[in-house]
């Protein structure tokens, strides 16, 4: 955001003099504050005064969570209204949509179309819902300006199957990726390497994911700084990690600890290992011990007590 000289005047006298200073701010700063609100609250600011009547239509962010709405019908009407009334010339930077359970195909199409037509400036996309996966991915892959992507999607909420992570998702500017409930597919050599295309990746979160047709998950990135792995399936045994820029690594597991082969982890400073139900096997203890050898340079290590019992 460009710096704008604001009319601040003197302060610290009494409440009265400070009173109207925030509302004196230029529109772009107020829109910036409003972009941190959930969209229903942002729209409600239209009744504050005549200046604010149409302000919400120019917010660069949409935050829609179905749990805020009493019924799916209300959510559906709200989303349709917002998308049709929003100022079409205002760039959309962030779209965050979460709907627990299935979404009507018509509503999904409306949302994806809107994203598709605003994809030039879209930097951040959060999609958490169940619907046509093919449509969702073809839309996501059109958003070439994305720097941050968070996905938790499946065909239908009744189907607990993991969604196959597409190999051809090419988002050249992506720095932050957060995936939940995905399956990564291995290649001929029995190794899955799903993140190779993302050459600017800085932060990676993998939650409740699994690897299919492979024994090894390969994470190799020159740029990765933060890695967070939570509750991933223990069906694959090994993780190969090459990340010379990695600073912080969080690992939370439940029943099994992955065998991690780290190399080039010279920048790592902080490691958190959290686990609730490790089977206290000697094997796990050895794995944990080999981890600690890989992380020889760390400054801070947090290990939960149950993990230490192994």
């Amino acid at each position: 955001m460009a710096w704008i000289q604001t009319n601040m005047g003197r302060r610290r006298v009494d409440g009265d003099q400070n009173k109207d200073r925030l509302s004196d701010l230029p529109e772009c700063i107020i829109l910036h504050i409003l972009s941190f609100l959930r969209t229903p609250h942002a729209v409600q600011t239209c009744v504050l005064s005549t200046r604010w009547k149409h302000l919400w239509k120019r917010i660069p962010t949409l935050n829609l969570n179905s749990f805020q709405f009493r019924t799916l019908k209300i959510f559906s009407v709200f989303m349709s209204k917002v998308l049709s009334l929003r100022d079409p010339s205002t760039a959309l930077h962030t779209f965050n949509i979460s709907r627990r359970g299935d979404i009507e195909p018509r509503l999904l199409k409306k949302f994806l179309n809107y994203v598709y037509f605003h994809n030039i400036h879209l930097q951040e996309l959060v999609i958490s819902l169940h619907g046509d996966i093919g449509l969702i991915f073809s839309c996501v892959s059109s958003c070439r300006a994305l720097t941050s992507l968070k996905l938790s999607v499946g065909p239908t909420w009744r189907d607990p199957k993991k969604t196959l992570f597409p190999k051809s998702l090419n988002l050249p500017l992506l720095t932050s990726l957060d995936l939940e409930d995905f399956a990564f597919c291995g290649d001929e050599s029995g190794c899955a390497e799903p993140f190779l295309e993302f050459t600017k990746l800085n932060s990676l979160v993998i939650r409740s994911c699994k690897v299919i047709d492979a024994q090894i998950l390969n994470i190799s990135s020159e740029t990765l700084v933060n890695l967070d792995m939570q509750n991933n399936s223990s069906l694959f045994a090994k993780i190969k990690l090459y990340a010379p820029s990695l600073c912080a690594f969080n690992y939370a597991g439940s029943h099994h600890i992955h065998n991690i082969r780290g190399c080039g982890l010279s920048s790592i400073k902080q490691v958190n290992i959290e686990s609730v139900h490790f089977s206290a096997s000697q094997e796990d203890a050895l794995v944990l011990f080999s981890w600690l050898l890989d992380f020889a340079n760390i400054e801070s290590l947090t290990v939960t007590s149950t993990a230490l019992q192994v």
Partner: protein, 176 residues
């Protein structure tokens, strides 16, 4: 207003130029208290840094007439943590716990004036959290907005946008 401030800055800075103290930067609050900070801190404050750059680093005393000696230490603390890479959720929660509504607004304006993007984003989130779910009157007071709608106009608007006022988690009029 913009011109007035920049001319004030020039005259004050030139009169206080002292090449021997170039290792640290002196930030002078609106109530004339001097805060000495490392140049790395000044880098976090884009407004200060661009001022230093414009004078090729000769001027190291920067007057900040819009920022009080009450607020400036908070800004410096946040910048220090940011450089050290120690901005955590815990730190931010502790940081904001110390601040009342008025102070949050003051700091927001300071962050905007100094153009510190991270602090501005963080405080935007804090303000958003503090006005979400509050009554219209509360939010008007928070921002200092004068209601220039007639009651009829406001009622009509609420009716037109009924889809955002009904079925969504309601305003808490009690929190006024």
């Amino acid at each position: 207003m913009a011109e007035e401030v920049s001319s004030q800055m020039n005259s004050l800075s030139i009169s206080e130029t002292n090449p021997s103290s170039s290792a640290t930067i002196s930030l002078v609050s609106g109530d004339d208290i001097v805060f000495k900070v490392e140049p790395t801190i000044a880098k976090e404050m884009e407004t200060v840094q661009s001022f230093i750059d414009e004078t090729d680093g000769k001027i190291t005393t920067i007057p900040l007439p819009n920022i009080s000696s009450h607020d400036l230490p908070y800004v410096i603390e946040y910048c220090e943590k940011s450089i050290a890479g120690k901005i955590t959720k815990e730190f931010e929660a502790e940081f904001v716990k110390k601040l009342n509504n008025e102070e949050v607004k003051e700091l927001f304006l300071a962050a905007n004036y100094l153009n510190i993007k991270k602090l501005l984003d963080f405080l935007s989130q804090v303000i958003a959290d503090r006005i979400a779910n509050k009554s219209v009157e509360y939010v008007r007071r928070y921002f200092g907005i004068e209601n220039d709608f007639t009651p009829e106009e406001e009622a009509k608007l609420r009716e037109e946008l009924a889809w955002t006022f009904t079925g969504v988690d309601p305003d808490d009029e009690d929190e006024n």
